[in-house]
């Protein structure tokens, strides 16, 4: 209350200064004062009240009509005052929610983190950068007892928290499958079943699952962005053709399985559509751009290549990351 008395004095001074000089300086200082009012949660109706008090003090013989005018204005400001307060509360709530989401994002990171396996003859690099706080892309590596590695890369269409929750389900489902018998097409078939049963029909999941052992890559795809094969011998990139329905759309789906042999210097590139989807230009050109960058840095370690690609796209002026970005490169040596 004391503070408002002080402010009242300032307000009065400024108002009087302005009345006699129409000084811009007084208006500027009034602007500062208003900011102060807002900080102290002083509402519009209270400022008008202040105004009326100053009017009465400065012009004791003021016409009552003038005061009525101000009172009328004051009454109409009550709703604005309430709206401001509601806004403030909602803003605080939103802030709290944001903190919660960032905590959840951290938990997600820990929960879904996957360490890169060590495989003789294979150099692996991964980068996964969410567009917002929660990542809707998911990758996972498993090492089999037979020395094979399994690589899962999924893109959950439908972002944010539901996607993140859905991902945990996929992870635990995959872990519950018996390891020995599992081929990529089996894994997708089973996952499709899990997703179909448990996930809201508004959410879709695309996935590519690959298994690597002794120079042979076996893979299957559930509607996922096609992977890329680089053949050293012909120095050419090929799309990894694979057909298969997105997970969770239909009950009984079987997936075809494909193979690709890898020789020294060959590469496999797996990605989500966030890598090739950014503001301008067409999809095809962007895949071309991706391959150009990969080709430029082909001699580097797989991890450096994927980081290079991300840096490159990120530095493009027209790039604005709309979607989660995940890129995996396997380099046979």
């Amino acid at each position: 209350m004391k503070a408002i008395m002080l402010d009242k004095e300032t307000y009065k001074q400024l108002l009087n200064q302005y009345i006699s000089t129409q000084d811009e300086g007084a208006l500027y200082r009034a602007e500062r004062l208003t900011r102060n009012f807002i900080k102290k949660n002083i509402l519009p109706e209270e400022i008008i009240d202040l105004h009326i008090q100053v009017l009465r003090e400065t012009y004791p013989t003021i016409y009552e009509e003038m005061v009525y005018m101000c009172q009328f204005l004051l009454e109409t400001m009550i709703s604005y005052g309430l709206a401001i307060q509601e806004n403030e509360t909602l803003r605080e709530k939103q802030l709290a929610m944001r903190t919660e989401i960032s905590l959840a994002a951290n938990i997600q990171k820990t929960l879904l983190s996957s360490t890169l396996p060590e495989v003789d003859g294979l150099d692996i690099g991964v980068i996964s950068v969410p567009a917002k706080q929660m990542n809707g892309d998911y990758y996972h590596f498993v090492t089999g007892k037979d020395g094979s590695i399994g690589i899962a890369l999924a893109d959950i269409i439908g972002k944010g928290i539901p996607a993140a929750l859905c991902m945990s389900m996929i992870k635990y489902a995959m872990e519950s499958f018996p390891e020995q018998l599992m081929n990529p097409n089996d894994i997708l078939r089973r996952l499709n079943h899990v997703v179909e049963l448990n996930v809201d029909s508004s959410m879709f999941i695309t996935m590519i699952y690959a298994k690597y052992k002794n120079g042979l890559l076996t893979y299957a795809s559930a509607g996922h962005e096609p992977g890329i094969y680089y053949c050293k011998e012909t120095d050419t990139f090929y799309n990894l053709k694979a057909k298969g329905l997105v997970l969770g759309v239909s009950t009984d789906v079987s997936y075809s399985q494909y193979e690709q042999e890898l020789k020294a210097g060959d590469m496999i590139i797996l990605l989500t559509d966030g890598v090739t989807e950014y503001r301008n230009g067409d999809q095809f050109a962007k895949r071309g751009e991706l391959l150009r960058i990969i080709r430029q840095s082909m001699k580097l370690k797989a991890q450096d290549i994927v980081e290079n690609v991300y840096q490159h796209f990120n530095s493009l002026s027209e790039y604005y990351q709309q979607d989660d970005f995940t890129l995996i490169i396997l380099k046979k040596y």
């Binding site: 209350m1 109706e45 209270e46 009326i52 004051l74 009454e75 009550i78």
Partner: protein, 139 residues
């Protein structure tokens, strides 16, 4: 003026009448302009709710004089349908006024004390008190 008075709410014009009575009480208690305007706005909200949801009810005003404190108590009561989920109704952004800040949460902000009891099928009772602060009647 008596220290207590009730207004029955059934037509929209009763809302205006209730505001008028409430304002008279508030002036009698020498509330400041801002508080008088808030009291009137509170009456609009509760009277409007009666008019909209309960069809009819009443609003009673009572001057409270206690130990060194003076204030205005307003009680709105109706035998309407009641409120199923009071917690929800008290949430910001829930009211159909959508982000205008009014409604029940707005009443709570404008008043010093707020109490709501509601039983589905029996009715709703809202009690609010606004205390006179010594600085309210300063120049």
């Amino acid at each position: 003026m008596d220290s207590q008075s009730c207004v029955s709410i059934q037509l929209e014009r009763d809302i205006i009448y209730a505001r008028q009575i409430g304002r008279q009480f508030a002036e009698q208690l020498q509330f400041g302009l801002v508080e008088i305007a808030r009291i009137a706005a509170t009456i609009s909200e509760i009277a409007n709710n009666i008019f909209l949801y309960a069809e009819k009810g009443q609003i009673c005003f009572q001057i409270m004089e206690g130990t060194g404190q003076k204030g205005l108590r307003i009680i709105a009561s109706d035998v309407g349908p009641g409120i199923k989920n009071i917690e929800k109704a008290m949430e910001d952004g829930y009211s159909t006024s959508e982000g205008l800040g009014a409604g029940l949460p707005g009443i709570k902000r404008m008043m010093d004390e707020f109490e709501i009891t509601s039983i589905v099928g029996e009715g709703t009772r809202i009690k609010v008190i606004k205390w006179v602060r010594s600085c309210d009647n300063e120049g």
